[in-house]
Amino acid sequence: MQQLDARKLQCPMPILHTKKALTTMESGEKLQILSSDPGSANDMESFCRKSGHVLEEATESQGEFRFIIRKG
């Protein structure tokens, strides 16, 4: 699974880097993203809904967010 460390990045950077990473991937492949931006929880959901990707996992622990996106 591809990894993306978006910690310490602020809006809109986590979404931009996610999109950039996804464009290099094949449909069905998965991407794990780490983020420290509390807004990214809602952002990733919206991003996936509007871009045809699947947000498979979204977890948070101690201010760190972890997402797994399956490319649509």
Partner: protein
């Protein structure tokens, strides 16, 4: 008296007559109908919104321009087309330098009292003669928030369409070489066509 034809021959004749009739009368009609339909579909498609956002940046305030560029980058990340129009004070957001040579006196004055380049833009509030703006930018750096210039370059890299208003350029005496690379020129019709085919239009 009638001579009887074999059924197979008769049916072949009927088939042929029908085929002739179809190709002579029905086919041209179908063809007309199809081209008519295609024309109407094309006209309809031209009026349908694309997955696009059009943004007018009228303001020359750093904070407002930042909001505009952040929205543009978000839209690009979500696979939307972005068209950004820069007019009046908003031109400051795409200026890389000011060169007063060859400008009339009032245009030089205008250049003197507006940001020389985007890095000089001030805040809409708490600007305090530029101190507020400098403070805000150092706070942004400390928090790893992208600068206006970074966001602008990112948007351009992702094929956002940036259009500078030629009327504002003419009025203020701004030349294309004073703007950052990759800016197209246009007027209100360029904006209107884009806005009419956008799902979202913002005036900032």
């Amino acid at each position: 008296m009638h001579t009887s034809l074999p059924v197979s021959e008769l049916s072949a004749m009927v088939d042929q007559a029908v085929a002739q009739r179809i190709s002579k009368e029905l086919l041209p009609q179908m063809h007309n109908l199809q081209s008519n339909l295609e024309q109407r579909l094309n006209a309809l498609e031209q009026r349908l919104p694309k997955n696009r956002i059009s943004i007018v940046l009228f303001s020359g305030d750093l904070d407002r321009a930042l909001a505009g560029f952040i929205i543009a980058n978000g839209a690009l990340a979500m696979d939307m087309e972005v068209a950004m129009y820069f007019t009046f004070w908003g031109m400051a957001a795409i200026k890389q330098a000011t060169n007063s040579q060859g400008k009339e006196f009032r245009q030089r004055l205008m250049g003197l009292f507006t940001p020389e380049r985007s890095e000089e833009m001030g805040l809409s509030q708490l600007n305090m003669l530029g101190i507020g703006s400098k403070m805000m930018k150092s706070m942004m750096r400390a928090r790893n928030i992208s600068s206006l210039e970074e966001l602008r370059n990112l948007a351009l890299e992702m094929d956002a369409r940036f259009i500078a208003c030629t009327m504002a350029m003419e009025l203020m005496g701004i030349r294309q070489e004073e703007l950052v690379k990759g800016i197209q020129l246009g007027g209100v019709a360029t904006f209107m066509e884009s806005a009419l085919n956008s799902r979202l239009t913002l005036f900032i």
